[in-house]
């Protein structure tokens, strides 16, 4: 079966980096699942089926951690011993927080007024900020290898991902 001691990047045959080839990730993931998925061992022994279940679940977990940029950034820091989303250290720059709070208030107003274009604009705005943050993180993580410094940006990206998810939900609720 698979080697559980290898990290997610090694498992999926990728160099540990924030910028990855997503097509290559998808290909490697499917290749691995073809090998270990429980469907291949439906007629196997109990041990084989248990191992297939554990391996396949592990491959799914690795894929999930690397597919999404926010989780990938968190995982990359964790490989360097840094917990970006620790519950005891949640500090964020004040101007970042103020900007998001304002965005949230405007979104709530827009939703109350049924102003779908305003909501869409706010969502697009937040997504653009997220993309800019990803570019910055690519420089910090893949260029300068400044993992400890990148902690703040990873936390911001995590926060933004939550916010865009919420805005998307508000938009869906307003549209239907």
């Amino acid at each position: 079966m698979i080697d559980f001691s290898r990290n997610h990047f090694e498992l999926l045959g990728l160099a540990p980096a924030f910028r990855i080839d997503v097509t290559e990730l998808d290909r490697a993931y499917r290749q691995l699942q073809t090998e270990v998925h429980p469907d291949r061992f439906a007629g196997g022994s109990d041990t084989e089926r248990r191992l297939a279940l554990q391996s396949s679940a592990h491959v799914n977990e690795a894929y999930r951690a690397l597919k999404n940029p926010v989780r990938r950034a968190q995982y990359l820091l964790r490989l360097h011993g840094i917990d970006a989303v620790s519950e005891t250290d949640t500090a964020l720059p004040l101007e970042f927080l103020e900007r998001q709070l304002e965005r949230r208030e405007l979104a709530a107003d827009a939703q109350a007024a049924g102003d779908v274009p305003a909501l869409s604009a706010l969502l697009e705005d937040a997504r653009a900020e997220g993309r800019a943050l990803e570019d910055l993180l690519a420089d910090l993580l893949d260029g300068e290898q400044a993992f400890a410094m990148a902690r703040i940006q990873v936390r911001e990206l995590t926060f933004l991902a939550k916010l865009t998810g919420d805005l998307d939900g508000m938009l869906a609720a307003s549209e239907s």
Binding site: R30, T34, H37, A42, G43, S56, N60, S176
Partner: protein, 621 residues
């Protein structure tokens, strides 16, 4: 000239033994069984060539009947003829907002609701097993031997309790189950392999009692479910019911008997089916009191009274698209599955929503069973050409734990690819806390009361520590059937507790083993089940009567006689819940015998009381 094959030394020629593999679509209204024959998936028909088996079980005077045989009695014997049992799988009586719709004698048992029938109290698992057994027998007759492996389909939106109930039913029916497969996924396999499709597809599956929407990406032999959503209590049945209500209102009918209600439901269904082809359908019926019903239902009225049911399917479609992070325009094709998608208003709504006509080039009744057969064939190890495809499915509803304040902490989110294992750490709330109650729930809502409770268990033996110091790791593991296992472990000491989420709906492994044993005992002769049920009723009556007599007139008997009666009662209790109706009858007889003299003396006493003019109840103090 024929060439003989000779294997290399030391390498035994692997006998290519073809396994008897089947796929079963266990539907709310109809069920089917299919297999792969000469590389082609085919539905196995009955002797008369009918592919569908109506999902109806009747507990008749002469044993269990299924399918068309049971259907023939649906109006004459509505309380023993069970339809749409799938709606009750894994459900308690309190879950059924529409319990009054069913003419059954419901028995409210913890976990799953049961139904009182002529053949005793039946759980939905047992009724489904009777259906599955009929399908298994059809397959065995057609394949010429016992089934080696079966894939049984379930609605994608079925929760853990409903899935487990289905798996238990398959086990009870003696089916070697290879996998539970989601219905829309099965349809996608059949459709995708047939059409060599690539791209993102939506499967809109409106069955008799359930609605599913699945969004899948098909690429290079991989069927990847991106998101699924649905409503496990919405289907063609609900359209029938709307028509039924319309009939009652239009004909101004008083409350109906179960037979009349069933009759009108049948007429409602016929009218619905007619309206897929015609502009108007006439509804003619004569009720048991001679009242005649003669109505015409137009397509316009039908569309109007069912409009919000159609609209109700579109919310899950929107949610699934949102979870897949796609727009309706990203969908390359929409596959329609389920008999209820024959209704023109449904097709119209789907076409309008996706901006394209849905794909209807396959039989919506058969496509799920065909896909299940293809998957069953592959899982059983039969090799066919083009069988190097892979299926990646998801869990439909989030799984979590109850935390302080009656809130849910999600551990596995909906639409996560399965199999999946996730662990999360929790801690104690009070100083010195040595046990932790773990409550496993499924659903999307924040409050535990709004989610489905799957199981409760306790982790005991945590060493006393200050609040917040213990580290309890709870691991959720969902297998490829979508079924959950939960384990809890205190990290410091290694104290462990594990549970397979199963007993919450009322069936433990022991009960299933007992049902299996019972079904083998009675398989040869279902009359025996009835004989047992009757003997049990008799046993309960005589036990209650004897105990009441002993309480009121116990002084009429001596110690020895009392001991004989007590022994007979104990024997009766011992056989009461067994499966041997002859032994139970014998026990009833011996209680009768032991209490014969006692009964005579009580009779004498009441006669003499009556003669002295005193009321019996006045003497009881």
């Amino acid at each position: 000239m024929a060439l003989f094959q000779i294997s290399e030394p030391g390498e035994a020629p692997a006998p290519h033994q073809h396994k008897r593999a089947i796929g079963i679509d266990l539907g709310t209204t109809n069920s089917l069984v299919a297999t792969v024959r000469n590389g082609l998936a085919v539905v196995l028909p009955d002797a008369e060539g009918r592919p569908l088996v109506p999902s109806i079980v009747r507990y008749g005077e002469h044993g269990v009947e299924t399918g068309y045989a049971a259907m023939a009695h649906q109006t004459s014997d509505p309380q023993n003829t069970i339809l749409s049992i799938k709606r009750l799988m894994g459900r308690g009586l309190s879950d059924l907002t529409d319990a009054r719709r069913f003419p059954y004698r419901f028995v409210d048992t913890p976990g799953m609701v049961k139904i009182g029938t002529r053949a005793g109290v039946k759980s939905p698992v047992e009724v489904s097993a009777d259906l599955l057994r009929a399908l298994r027998e059809r397959a065995e007759a057609s394949l010429g031997g016992p089934v080696d492996g079966a894939v049984v389909t379930v609605p994608a939106y079925f929760d853990d309790a409903q899935r487990q109930a289905t798996k238990d039913a398959a086990q009870l029916a003696g089916l070697p189950i290879l996998r539970l497969l989601n219905e829309p996924t099965a349809a996608a396999i059949a459709y995708g392999l047939d059409n060599a499709s690539e791209g993102v597809y939506a499967v809109y599956d409106l069955g008799g009692g359930t609605f599913d929407i699945s969004i899948l990406r098909l690429s290079r032999g991989v069927f990847e479910v991106l998101a699924t959503n649905g409503d496990s209590a919405l289907g063609g049945d609900d359209f029938d019911h709307r028509v039924f209500c319309w009939i009652i209102e239009a004909a101004k009918l008083p409350p109906l008997s179960p037979s009349d209600a069933r009759l009108l439901l049948v007429k409602a269904r016929e009218a619905k089916e007619n309206l897929s082809e015609h502009e108007s359908a006439s509804i003619l019926a004569t009720l048991s009191d001679g009242t005649s019903v003669n109505l015409a239902l137009t397509k316009a009225i039908f569309t109007e009274i069912t409009g919000n049911l159609v609209a109700k399917t579109l919310s899950p479609v929107r949610r699934a698209l949102r979870d897949a992070q796609l727009q309706s325009g990203d969908i390359k094709g929409v596959v329609l599955v389920g008999g209820a998608t024959r209704m023109p208003q449904v097709r119209r709504a789907v076409a309008e929503f996706f901006g394209q006509p849905p794909l209807t080039n396959l039989n919506p009744d058969e496509v799920v069973a065909l896909g299940a057969a293809v998957q069953g064939n592959k899982l059983a190890g039969n090799h066919e050409k083009d069988d190097d495809w892979l299926l990646l499915d998801v869990i439909p509803l989030s799984l979590g734990l109850e935390i302080m304040g009656g809130l849910t902490e999600k551990i596995i989110h909906r639409n996560s690819t399965i199999p999946i294992a996730r662990a999360q750490e929790f801690t104690t709330y009070k100083d010195g806390q040595t046990a932790m109650a773990i409550h496993v729930v499924q659903g999307e809502r924040e409050k535990v009361v709004d989610c489905r409770s799957l199981a409760r268990f306790e982790l005991r033996g945590i060493p006393p520590m200050v609040a917040g110091a213990a580290r309890i790791q709870v691991t959720f593991q969902v297998d490829a059937d979508g079924l959950l296992d939960v384990a809890a472990r205190e990290q410091g000491t290694g104290v462990e507790a594990t549970i397979t989420v199963k007993p919450s709906y009322g069936l433990s492994d022991g009960e299933i083993a007992k049902m299996l044993a019972d079904s083998f005992t009675h398989a040869a002769d279902d009359m025996q089940a009835r004989a047992l049920a009757e003997a049990q009723v008799e046993a309960d009556q005589i036990a209650a009567a004897t105990e009441a007599a002993l309480a009121s007139d116990g002084e009429l008997i001596g110690t020895h006689e009392r001991a004989v009666i007590d022994a007979a009662l104990a024997k009766l209790r011992r056989f009461r819940d067994g499966s041997d109706h002859l032994a139970l009858r014998a026990a009833v007889e011996s209680v009768n015998h032991a209490t014969g003299d006692f009964a005579a003396r009580r009779m004498d006493r009441s006669v003499s009381r009556a003669l002295t003019g005193k009321r019996v109840d006045a003497l009881s103090d």
